[in-house]
Amino acid sequence: MKTVIIGGGIGGLYTAYYLVKYGYEPSNIVLVAAEWPPYSKHRLAEILGEKLSIDYAYIGIYNTLLDKGVKILQDVAIKLNTSNKTVVLRRNGEITYDNIVIATGGKPFIPPLKGTELKNVMTFYDLEDLKKLSRIPRTARVAVIGAGLVGLSAATALNKLGVRVTVYELMEDILPGVIDHPLSTKLEKYLVSRGIKIRTRSRVEEIIGGKTAREIKASGRIEPVDIVVFATGVRPNTEMVRGSGIEMLRGAIRIRRNGMTSIDGVYATGDCALSHDLITGKEVYRPLGFIAAHYARIIARNITGTRKETRGIVPTIYENIGGAHIVRVGLSLKEAESLGLSPTIKCEEAPSYASCTVLQDQAPIGYEAIGFSNKIRNKAWQIYYDIHTMFS
Protein backbone atom coordinates (compact mmCIF):
# COMPACT_ATOMS: atom_id res chain seq x y z
CA MET A 1 0.00 0.00 0.00
CA LYS A 2 1.37 3.34 -1.01
CA THR A 3 0.22 6.63 0.45
CA VAL A 4 0.99 9.83 -1.39
CA ILE A 5 0.72 13.10 0.50
CA ILE A 6 0.49 16.34 -1.47
CA GLY A 7 1.83 19.37 0.39
CA GLY A 8 4.67 19.69 2.87
CA GLY A 9 3.00 22.17 5.19
CA ILE A 10 1.62 21.34 8.59
CA GLY A 11 -1.20 19.13 7.31
CA GLY A 12 1.03 17.05 5.04
CA LEU A 13 3.98 16.82 7.40
CA TYR A 14 1.91 15.66 10.38
CA THR A 15 -0.04 13.17 8.27
CA ALA A 16 3.33 11.57 7.49
CA TYR A 17 4.37 11.83 11.12
CA TYR A 18 1.22 10.14 12.44
CA LEU A 19 1.28 7.45 9.74
CA VAL A 20 4.78 6.49 10.87
CA LYS A 21 3.77 6.72 14.52
CA TYR A 22 0.82 4.37 13.96
CA GLY A 23 3.02 1.80 12.30
CA TYR A 24 2.75 2.54 8.58
CA GLU A 25 5.86 1.51 6.67
CA PRO A 26 7.74 4.81 6.12
CA SER A 27 9.14 3.79 2.73
CA ASN A 28 5.56 3.46 1.46
CA ILE A 29 4.94 7.14 2.11
CA VAL A 30 5.67 9.69 -0.60
CA LEU A 31 5.43 13.32 0.42
CA VAL A 32 5.21 15.73 -2.52
CA ALA A 33 6.20 19.19 -1.36
CA ALA A 34 6.51 22.41 -3.34
CA GLU A 35 8.29 24.05 -0.39
CA TRP A 36 10.92 22.21 1.66
CA PRO A 37 11.97 22.03 4.48
CA PRO A 38 8.63 22.43 6.25
CA TYR A 39 8.11 25.45 8.46
CA SER A 40 5.48 26.91 10.73
CA LYS A 41 3.67 30.06 9.66
CA HIS A 42 2.77 30.52 13.31
CA ARG A 43 6.22 31.88 13.98
CA LEU A 44 6.56 34.36 11.12
CA ALA A 45 5.47 37.41 13.12
CA GLU A 46 7.75 36.61 16.06
CA ILE A 47 10.72 36.14 13.75
CA LEU A 48 9.96 39.42 11.98
CA GLY A 49 9.45 41.41 15.17
CA GLU A 50 12.57 40.08 16.87
CA LYS A 51 14.81 40.15 13.78
CA LEU A 52 15.62 36.48 14.15
CA SER A 53 16.93 34.03 11.60
CA ILE A 54 14.32 32.22 9.52
CA ASP A 55 15.78 28.99 10.90
CA TYR A 56 13.39 29.51 13.82
CA ALA A 57 10.47 28.79 11.47
CA TYR A 58 11.46 25.23 10.51
CA ILE A 59 9.69 22.33 12.18
CA GLY A 60 12.20 19.86 13.59
CA ILE A 61 10.48 16.53 12.92
CA TYR A 62 11.12 16.47 9.18
CA ASN A 63 14.62 15.13 9.80
CA THR A 64 13.23 12.23 11.80
CA LEU A 65 10.84 11.39 8.98
CA LEU A 66 13.66 11.47 6.43
CA ASP A 67 15.80 9.22 8.64
CA LYS A 68 12.95 6.75 8.93
CA GLY A 69 12.76 6.49 5.15
CA VAL A 70 9.76 8.64 4.16
CA LYS A 71 10.31 9.67 0.54
CA ILE A 72 10.22 13.36 -0.23
CA LEU A 73 9.69 14.64 -3.75
CA GLN A 74 10.29 18.35 -4.09
CA ASP A 75 7.73 18.85 -6.77
CA VAL A 76 4.34 20.31 -7.55
CA ALA A 77 1.26 18.15 -8.09
CA ILE A 78 -0.68 19.38 -11.10
CA LYS A 79 -3.54 16.99 -11.61
CA LEU A 80 -5.31 14.30 -9.68
CA ASN A 81 -6.91 11.45 -11.59
CA THR A 82 -9.09 9.46 -9.23
CA SER A 83 -10.36 6.96 -11.80
CA ASN A 84 -6.96 5.33 -12.26
CA LYS A 85 -5.49 6.52 -8.92
CA THR A 86 -2.66 8.61 -10.30
CA VAL A 87 -1.37 12.09 -9.76
CA VAL A 88 0.68 14.08 -12.24
CA LEU A 89 3.71 15.93 -10.87
CA ARG A 90 5.40 18.78 -12.71
CA ARG A 91 8.89 17.21 -12.81
CA ASN A 92 8.47 13.57 -11.82
CA GLY A 93 5.51 12.87 -14.10
CA GLU A 94 2.71 10.52 -13.20
CA ILE A 95 2.81 8.49 -9.98
CA THR A 96 0.28 6.00 -8.61
CA TYR A 97 -1.24 5.76 -5.14
CA ASP A 98 -3.47 3.57 -3.02
CA ASN A 99 -4.34 6.41 -0.66
CA ILE A 100 -3.76 10.07 -1.33
CA VAL A 101 -3.92 12.93 1.15
CA ILE A 102 -4.49 16.41 -0.24
CA ALA A 103 -2.83 18.97 2.03
CA THR A 104 -2.18 21.78 -0.43
CA GLY A 105 -3.08 24.50 2.05
CA GLY A 106 -4.45 27.87 1.10
CA LYS A 107 -3.47 30.97 -0.73
CA PRO A 108 -3.74 34.49 0.53
CA PHE A 109 -6.77 36.31 -0.78
CA ILE A 110 -6.27 39.78 -2.22
CA PRO A 111 -9.44 41.69 -3.08
CA PRO A 112 -9.74 42.69 -6.73
CA LEU A 113 -8.74 46.35 -6.48
CA LYS A 114 -6.88 48.72 -8.72
CA GLY A 115 -3.18 48.81 -7.97
CA THR A 116 -2.68 45.49 -6.20
CA GLU A 117 -0.19 44.46 -8.90
CA LEU A 118 2.16 47.33 -8.03
CA LYS A 119 5.60 46.78 -6.58
CA ASN A 120 5.63 46.89 -2.78
CA VAL A 121 2.15 45.46 -2.54
CA MET A 122 2.43 42.10 -0.80
CA THR A 123 0.90 39.59 1.63
CA PHE A 124 2.06 38.16 4.96
CA TYR A 125 1.78 34.48 4.34
CA ASP A 126 5.04 32.64 3.72
CA LEU A 127 8.82 32.72 4.11
CA GLU A 128 9.25 34.90 1.02
CA ASP A 129 6.95 37.52 2.54
CA LEU A 130 8.89 37.32 5.79
CA LYS A 131 12.19 37.87 3.95
CA LYS A 132 10.77 40.86 2.08
CA LEU A 133 9.33 42.48 5.18
CA SER A 134 12.54 41.88 7.13
CA ARG A 135 14.38 44.07 4.65
CA ILE A 136 12.16 47.14 4.66
CA PRO A 137 13.73 50.31 6.01
CA ARG A 138 12.70 51.63 9.43
CA THR A 139 11.48 54.82 7.82
CA ALA A 140 8.92 53.01 5.66
CA ARG A 141 5.22 53.70 6.06
CA VAL A 142 3.33 50.43 6.00
CA ALA A 143 -0.37 49.92 5.42
CA VAL A 144 -1.70 46.60 6.69
CA ILE A 145 -5.07 45.73 5.18
CA GLY A 146 -7.16 43.54 7.44
CA ALA A 147 -7.20 43.49 11.25
CA GLY A 148 -7.50 39.75 11.74
CA LEU A 149 -4.96 37.66 13.66
CA VAL A 150 -2.50 37.68 10.76
CA GLY A 151 -2.83 41.41 10.03
CA LEU A 152 -2.46 42.43 13.66
CA SER A 153 0.49 40.07 14.21
CA ALA A 154 2.23 41.63 11.22
CA ALA A 155 1.33 45.16 12.36
CA THR A 156 2.64 44.67 15.90
CA ALA A 157 5.82 42.99 14.66
CA LEU A 158 6.52 45.94 12.35
CA ASN A 159 5.64 48.39 15.11
CA LYS A 160 8.22 46.68 17.29
CA LEU A 161 10.82 47.35 14.59
CA GLY A 162 9.96 51.05 14.72
CA VAL A 163 8.15 51.08 11.39
CA ARG A 164 5.09 53.34 11.06
CA VAL A 165 2.05 51.14 10.65
CA THR A 166 -1.56 51.90 9.77
CA VAL A 167 -4.12 49.10 9.88
CA TYR A 168 -7.22 49.33 7.68
CA GLU A 169 -10.24 47.27 8.62
CA LEU A 170 -13.52 47.17 6.76
CA MET A 171 -15.56 46.10 9.78
CA GLU A 172 -16.46 48.18 12.78
CA ASP A 173 -14.06 46.31 15.07
CA ILE A 174 -10.61 44.80 14.91
CA LEU A 175 -10.22 41.00 15.14
CA PRO A 176 -13.71 40.63 13.67
CA GLY A 177 -15.14 37.19 14.35
CA VAL A 178 -12.26 36.28 16.65
CA ILE A 179 -13.35 38.39 19.62
CA ASP A 180 -16.37 40.59 20.09
CA HIS A 181 -17.02 44.31 20.49
CA PRO A 182 -16.22 45.04 24.14
CA LEU A 183 -12.87 43.30 23.87
CA SER A 184 -11.90 44.56 20.42
CA THR A 185 -12.40 48.11 21.65
CA LYS A 186 -10.00 47.47 24.51
CA LEU A 187 -7.43 45.90 22.22
CA GLU A 188 -7.77 48.75 19.75
CA LYS A 189 -7.09 51.33 22.48
CA TYR A 190 -4.08 49.37 23.60
CA LEU A 191 -2.62 49.09 20.09
CA VAL A 192 -3.20 52.79 19.41
CA SER A 193 -1.36 53.58 22.64
CA ARG A 194 1.56 51.57 21.24
CA GLY A 195 1.70 53.83 18.21
CA ILE A 196 -0.22 51.77 15.67
CA LYS A 197 -2.79 53.73 13.67
CA ILE A 198 -6.06 51.91 13.24
CA ARG A 199 -8.74 52.81 10.75
CA THR A 200 -11.85 50.72 11.24
CA ARG A 201 -14.90 50.95 8.96
CA SER A 202 -12.42 51.76 6.29
CA ARG A 203 -12.84 50.26 2.84
CA VAL A 204 -9.62 50.17 0.86
CA GLU A 205 -10.52 51.21 -2.67
CA GLU A 206 -7.30 51.58 -4.56
CA ILE A 207 -3.53 51.46 -4.32
CA ILE A 208 -2.12 54.40 -6.21
CA GLY A 209 1.31 54.67 -7.79
CA GLY A 210 3.38 54.40 -10.98
CA LYS A 211 5.44 51.22 -10.72
CA THR A 212 5.54 51.26 -6.93
CA ALA A 213 2.75 51.90 -4.48
CA ARG A 214 2.78 55.52 -3.30
CA GLU A 215 -0.64 56.13 -1.84
CA ILE A 216 -3.58 54.22 -0.52
CA LYS A 217 -7.19 55.28 -0.93
CA ALA A 218 -9.58 54.05 1.71
CA SER A 219 -13.17 55.22 2.18
CA GLY A 220 -12.39 58.26 0.09
CA ARG A 221 -9.30 59.30 2.05
CA ILE A 222 -5.86 59.19 0.44
CA GLU A 223 -2.75 58.60 2.53
CA PRO A 224 0.90 58.19 1.56
CA VAL A 225 2.37 54.71 1.83
CA ASP A 226 5.57 52.80 0.99
CA ILE A 227 4.53 49.19 1.55
CA VAL A 228 1.05 47.65 1.44
CA VAL A 229 0.50 44.31 3.18
CA PHE A 230 -2.74 42.49 2.44
CA ALA A 231 -3.93 40.28 5.29
CA THR A 232 -7.44 39.87 3.96
CA GLY A 233 -7.90 36.18 4.53
CA VAL A 234 -7.06 32.84 3.04
CA ARG A 235 -8.81 30.82 0.36
CA PRO A 236 -8.45 27.09 -0.29
CA ASN A 237 -5.74 26.14 -2.76
CA THR A 238 -7.37 23.35 -4.73
CA GLU A 239 -6.24 23.74 -8.34
CA MET A 240 -4.78 20.26 -8.54
CA VAL A 241 -8.10 18.56 -7.72
CA ARG A 242 -10.04 20.49 -10.34
CA GLY A 243 -11.96 18.07 -12.55
CA SER A 244 -11.22 15.11 -10.26
CA GLY A 245 -14.85 14.72 -9.25
CA ILE A 246 -14.20 15.43 -5.57
CA GLU A 247 -17.08 17.22 -3.90
CA MET A 248 -16.38 20.83 -3.07
CA LEU A 249 -18.24 23.53 -1.21
CA ARG A 250 -17.49 27.23 -1.68
CA GLY A 251 -14.13 26.38 -3.22
CA ALA A 252 -13.00 24.08 -0.39
CA ILE A 253 -12.77 20.29 -0.33
CA ARG A 254 -15.56 18.64 1.65
CA ILE A 255 -14.46 15.90 3.99
CA ARG A 256 -16.25 13.32 6.08
CA ARG A 257 -15.65 12.89 9.76
CA ASN A 258 -12.85 10.42 9.04
CA GLY A 259 -11.04 12.93 6.85
CA MET A 260 -12.00 11.22 3.60
CA THR A 261 -13.35 13.22 0.67
CA SER A 262 -16.37 12.11 -1.35
CA ILE A 263 -14.07 9.67 -3.17
CA ASP A 264 -12.73 6.61 -1.34
CA GLY A 265 -8.99 6.57 -0.82
CA VAL A 266 -8.76 10.35 -1.23
CA TYR A 267 -8.36 12.32 1.98
CA ALA A 268 -7.89 16.02 2.63
CA THR A 269 -6.82 18.19 5.54
CA GLY A 270 -5.87 21.75 6.34
CA ASP A 271 -6.48 25.05 4.62
CA CYS A 272 -7.57 23.37 1.38
CA ALA A 273 -10.51 21.68 3.10
CA LEU A 274 -13.51 22.28 5.33
CA SER A 275 -13.68 21.00 8.90
CA HIS A 276 -16.43 20.21 11.37
CA ASP A 277 -17.51 22.47 14.19
CA LEU A 278 -18.18 20.48 17.36
CA ILE A 279 -20.88 22.72 18.78
CA THR A 280 -23.11 23.04 15.72
CA GLY A 281 -21.93 19.99 13.80
CA LYS A 282 -21.66 22.24 10.76
CA GLU A 283 -19.01 22.23 8.06
CA VAL A 284 -16.87 25.34 8.35
CA TYR A 285 -13.83 26.87 6.71
CA ARG A 286 -11.31 27.60 9.44
CA PRO A 287 -7.78 27.89 8.15
CA LEU A 288 -5.95 27.10 11.40
CA GLY A 289 -2.87 24.99 11.94
CA PHE A 290 -4.15 22.82 14.79
CA ILE A 291 -7.17 21.88 12.72
CA ALA A 292 -4.91 20.67 9.90
CA ALA A 293 -3.07 18.50 12.44
CA HIS A 294 -6.31 17.24 14.01
CA TYR A 295 -7.47 15.79 10.71
CA ALA A 296 -3.94 14.61 9.86
CA ARG A 297 -4.11 12.38 12.92
CA ILE A 298 -7.61 11.11 12.11
CA ILE A 299 -6.59 10.36 8.52
CA ALA A 300 -3.48 8.48 9.65
CA ARG A 301 -5.61 6.43 12.04
CA ASN A 302 -7.99 5.44 9.27
CA ILE A 303 -5.26 4.65 6.76
CA THR A 304 -3.56 2.42 9.33
CA GLY A 305 -6.77 0.53 9.92
CA THR A 306 -8.28 2.03 13.08
CA ARG A 307 -11.64 3.51 12.21
CA LYS A 308 -11.79 6.92 13.78
CA GLU A 309 -14.11 9.86 13.31
CA THR A 310 -13.78 13.33 14.70
CA ARG A 311 -16.48 14.80 16.89
CA GLY A 312 -15.45 18.16 15.53
CA ILE A 313 -13.36 21.11 16.53
CA VAL A 314 -13.62 23.47 19.47
CA PRO A 315 -11.43 26.45 18.54
CA THR A 316 -8.61 27.05 21.04
CA ILE A 317 -6.81 30.25 20.17
CA TYR A 318 -4.18 32.21 22.01
CA GLU A 319 -2.25 35.11 20.55
CA ASN A 320 0.12 37.63 22.01
CA ILE A 321 -0.66 40.75 20.01
CA GLY A 322 2.05 43.26 20.76
CA GLY A 323 1.94 42.35 24.46
CA ALA A 324 -1.83 41.91 24.73
CA HIS A 325 -2.79 38.34 25.58
CA ILE A 326 -5.84 37.20 23.64
CA VAL A 327 -7.59 33.95 24.52
CA ARG A 328 -10.55 32.46 22.79
CA VAL A 329 -12.08 29.01 23.25
CA GLY A 330 -15.27 27.86 21.57
CA LEU A 331 -17.33 30.28 19.51
CA SER A 332 -17.37 34.05 19.48
CA LEU A 333 -20.73 35.81 19.37
CA LYS A 334 -20.30 36.67 15.70
CA GLU A 335 -19.14 33.22 14.69
CA ALA A 336 -22.02 31.62 16.61
CA GLU A 337 -24.47 33.91 14.82
CA SER A 338 -22.97 33.12 11.46
CA LEU A 339 -23.47 29.43 12.26
CA GLY A 340 -27.18 30.00 12.78
CA LEU A 341 -27.31 30.13 16.59
CA SER A 342 -28.94 32.92 18.57
CA PRO A 343 -26.37 33.47 21.30
CA THR A 344 -26.09 36.06 24.02
CA ILE A 345 -22.95 37.50 25.52
CA LYS A 346 -22.00 38.33 29.10
CA CYS A 347 -18.92 40.40 29.71
CA GLU A 348 -16.94 41.43 32.76
CA GLU A 349 -14.11 43.84 33.26
CA ALA A 350 -11.41 44.06 35.90
CA PRO A 351 -8.24 46.16 36.01
CA SER A 352 -6.05 43.33 34.73
CA TYR A 353 -8.39 41.74 32.21
CA ALA A 354 -11.69 41.79 30.38
CA SER A 355 -13.61 38.75 29.27
CA CYS A 356 -16.86 37.64 27.68
CA THR A 357 -18.76 34.39 27.85
CA VAL A 358 -20.92 33.48 24.88
CA LEU A 359 -24.07 31.58 25.83
CA GLN A 360 -26.69 29.65 23.97
CA ASP A 361 -29.80 28.76 26.01
CA GLN A 362 -27.88 29.61 29.21
CA ALA A 363 -25.07 27.16 28.37
CA PRO A 364 -21.57 28.48 27.61
CA ILE A 365 -20.47 27.89 24.03
CA GLY A 366 -17.53 30.24 23.99
CA TYR A 367 -15.18 32.35 26.01
CA GLU A 368 -12.93 35.20 24.95
CA ALA A 369 -10.61 37.34 26.98
CA ILE A 370 -7.86 39.90 26.89
CA GLY A 371 -5.28 40.08 29.68
CA PHE A 372 -3.13 37.77 31.79
CA SER A 373 -4.93 36.59 34.88
CA ASN A 374 -5.81 33.46 36.84
CA LYS A 375 -9.45 34.34 36.35
CA ILE A 376 -9.16 34.09 32.59
CA ARG A 377 -7.26 30.83 32.70
CA ASN A 378 -9.60 29.10 35.09
CA LYS A 379 -12.58 30.09 33.04
CA ALA A 380 -11.04 29.30 29.65
CA TRP A 381 -10.24 25.69 30.38
CA GLN A 382 -13.47 25.14 32.31
CA ILE A 383 -15.56 26.37 29.42
CA TYR A 384 -13.46 24.32 27.02
CA TYR A 385 -14.40 21.20 28.96
CA ASP A 386 -17.98 22.28 29.57
CA ILE A 387 -18.40 22.54 25.81
CA HIS A 388 -16.99 19.04 25.36
CA THR A 389 -19.32 17.66 28.01
CA MET A 390 -22.37 19.36 26.56
CA PHE A 391 -21.85 18.67 22.91
CA SER A 392 -20.14 15.36 22.50
Binding site: R43, E46, E50, A57, G289, F290, I317, F372, N378
Partner: protein, 158 residues
Amino acid sequence: MVKHVLDIDPEKCNACMRCVFACSLARSGVIDERQAMITIVVEKGVVVDIAVCRHCDPAPCVNVCEFDALHVENGRVILDQSKCTTCKACISVCPFGAIRESYGGELVKCDLCGGDPACVRVCPTGAIRYLPAHLVKMRRMGGATRTVYEYLEIIGRG
Protein backbone atom coordinates in the same frame (compact mmCIF):
# COMPACT_ATOMS: atom_id res chain seq x y z
CA MET B 1 9.54 6.77 42.80
CA VAL B 2 6.47 8.66 43.99
CA LYS B 3 5.47 11.35 41.56
CA HIS B 4 6.67 14.74 42.79
CA VAL B 5 5.38 18.11 41.63
CA LEU B 6 5.81 21.74 42.55
CA ASP B 7 3.73 23.01 45.43
CA ILE B 8 3.06 26.70 44.92
CA ASP B 9 2.12 29.18 47.60
CA PRO B 10 2.02 32.71 46.16
CA GLU B 11 1.34 34.17 49.61
CA LYS B 12 4.83 33.22 50.70
CA CYS B 13 6.47 34.72 47.62
CA ASN B 14 8.24 38.05 48.04
CA ALA B 15 9.08 38.44 44.33
CA CYS B 16 12.83 38.17 44.87
CA MET B 17 13.01 36.59 41.39
CA ARG B 18 15.65 34.04 42.37
CA CYS B 19 13.58 31.17 41.00
CA VAL B 20 13.11 32.94 37.67
CA PHE B 21 16.83 33.56 37.28
CA ALA B 22 17.79 30.08 38.46
CA CYS B 23 15.32 28.57 36.01
CA SER B 24 16.63 30.53 33.06
CA LEU B 25 20.20 29.69 34.06
CA ALA B 26 19.41 25.99 34.33
CA ARG B 27 17.64 25.97 31.00
CA SER B 28 19.84 28.15 28.86
CA GLY B 29 22.98 29.03 30.77
CA VAL B 30 22.11 32.72 30.91
CA ILE B 31 19.98 34.91 33.14
CA ASP B 32 17.14 36.04 30.92
CA GLU B 33 13.56 36.23 32.13
CA ARG B 34 12.24 35.36 28.71
CA GLN B 35 13.93 32.00 28.82
CA ALA B 36 12.60 31.12 32.24
CA MET B 37 9.75 28.65 32.59
CA ILE B 38 8.35 30.38 35.64
CA THR B 39 6.65 33.77 35.97
CA ILE B 40 5.89 35.78 39.07
CA VAL B 41 2.56 37.46 38.44
CA VAL B 42 2.25 40.75 40.27
CA GLU B 43 -0.92 42.80 40.35
CA LYS B 44 -0.91 46.20 42.05
CA GLY B 45 2.31 45.35 43.85
CA VAL B 46 1.02 42.06 45.22
CA VAL B 47 2.20 38.63 44.11
CA VAL B 48 -1.00 36.94 42.97
CA ASP B 49 0.46 33.89 41.32
CA ILE B 50 3.57 31.95 40.49
CA ALA B 51 2.84 30.74 37.00
CA VAL B 52 4.60 27.43 36.47
CA CYS B 53 3.60 23.98 35.28
CA ARG B 54 1.75 21.79 37.82
CA HIS B 55 2.18 18.66 35.71
CA CYS B 56 -1.56 18.09 35.79
CA ASP B 57 -2.74 14.54 35.57
CA PRO B 58 -4.27 14.19 33.06
CA ALA B 59 -3.15 17.47 31.56
CA PRO B 60 -5.30 19.85 29.50
CA CYS B 61 -2.32 20.88 27.38
CA VAL B 62 -1.46 17.29 26.44
CA ASN B 63 -5.08 16.76 25.60
CA VAL B 64 -5.35 19.78 23.33
CA CYS B 65 -2.05 19.48 21.44
CA GLU B 66 -2.80 18.12 17.98
CA PHE B 67 0.89 17.89 17.10
CA ASP B 68 1.95 15.28 19.65
CA ALA B 69 4.38 17.83 21.06
CA LEU B 70 3.32 17.36 24.68
CA HIS B 71 3.51 14.03 26.44
CA VAL B 72 3.85 12.53 29.90
CA GLU B 73 7.12 10.95 30.94
CA ASN B 74 7.45 9.53 34.47
CA GLY B 75 4.58 11.71 35.60
CA ARG B 76 6.17 14.82 34.08
CA VAL B 77 4.53 16.74 31.26
CA ILE B 78 7.24 17.30 28.67
CA LEU B 79 7.24 19.62 25.66
CA ASP B 80 9.08 18.31 22.62
CA GLN B 81 10.40 21.34 20.71
CA SER B 82 10.96 19.36 17.53
CA LYS B 83 7.23 18.73 17.14
CA CYS B 84 5.82 22.01 18.40
CA THR B 85 4.61 24.40 15.71
CA THR B 86 3.71 27.21 18.14
CA CYS B 87 -0.01 26.99 17.36
CA LYS B 88 -0.49 28.12 20.98
CA ALA B 89 -3.65 26.05 21.53
CA CYS B 90 -2.08 24.72 24.74
CA ILE B 91 -1.59 28.24 26.08
CA SER B 92 -5.30 28.92 25.66
CA VAL B 93 -6.33 26.02 27.92
CA CYS B 94 -3.51 25.81 30.46
CA PRO B 95 -5.15 26.69 33.80
CA PHE B 96 -1.85 27.86 35.27
CA GLY B 97 -0.36 30.17 32.62
CA ALA B 98 2.55 27.79 32.58
CA ILE B 99 3.48 27.76 28.90
CA ARG B 100 5.37 30.79 27.70
CA GLU B 101 6.64 32.10 24.43
CA SER B 102 10.38 32.62 24.30
CA TYR B 103 12.35 33.87 21.30
CA GLY B 104 11.04 33.34 17.79
CA GLY B 105 7.86 31.74 19.04
CA GLU B 106 9.70 28.90 20.75
CA LEU B 107 7.60 27.71 23.68
CA VAL B 108 9.03 26.88 27.07
CA LYS B 109 7.52 25.04 29.98
CA CYS B 110 8.84 23.46 33.16
CA ASP B 111 10.24 19.93 32.93
CA LEU B 112 11.08 19.77 36.67
CA CYS B 113 14.80 19.82 35.78
CA GLY B 114 14.73 16.04 35.55
CA GLY B 115 13.75 15.73 39.22
CA ASP B 116 15.82 18.37 41.00
CA PRO B 117 14.12 21.70 40.26
CA ALA B 118 16.49 24.67 40.31
CA CYS B 119 13.75 27.04 41.50
CA VAL B 120 13.10 25.00 44.62
CA ARG B 121 16.81 24.99 45.47
CA VAL B 122 16.96 28.79 45.51
CA CYS B 123 13.56 29.78 46.92
CA PRO B 124 14.27 31.27 50.37
CA THR B 125 10.67 31.42 51.63
CA GLY B 126 9.22 28.03 50.76
CA ALA B 127 6.83 29.51 48.21
CA ILE B 128 7.92 26.77 45.79
CA ARG B 129 8.43 23.32 47.20
CA TYR B 130 8.93 19.95 45.56
CA LEU B 131 6.58 17.44 47.16
CA PRO B 132 4.88 14.14 46.43
CA ALA B 133 1.92 14.86 44.20
CA HIS B 134 -0.66 13.42 46.57
CA LEU B 135 0.34 15.94 49.18
CA VAL B 136 -0.11 18.86 46.86
CA LYS B 137 -3.59 20.18 47.02
CA MET B 138 -3.27 22.32 43.94
CA ARG B 139 -5.79 20.20 42.06
CA ARG B 140 -8.49 22.40 43.48
CA MET B 141 -8.32 25.70 41.82
CA GLY B 142 -9.42 29.14 42.94
CA GLY B 143 -12.98 29.78 41.81
CA ALA B 144 -13.27 26.50 39.97
CA THR B 145 -16.01 24.15 40.98
CA ARG B 146 -14.41 21.06 39.58
CA THR B 147 -10.87 19.80 39.53
CA VAL B 148 -8.71 19.40 36.47
CA TYR B 149 -8.91 15.70 37.03
CA GLU B 150 -12.69 15.57 37.03
CA TYR B 151 -12.89 17.61 33.88
CA LEU B 152 -10.50 15.36 32.10
CA GLU B 153 -12.40 12.30 33.14
CA ILE B 154 -15.33 13.76 31.25
CA ILE B 155 -13.56 14.50 28.01
CA GLY B 156 -11.28 11.47 28.00
CA ARG B 157 -7.95 11.39 26.20
CA GLY B 158 -6.96 11.34 22.53
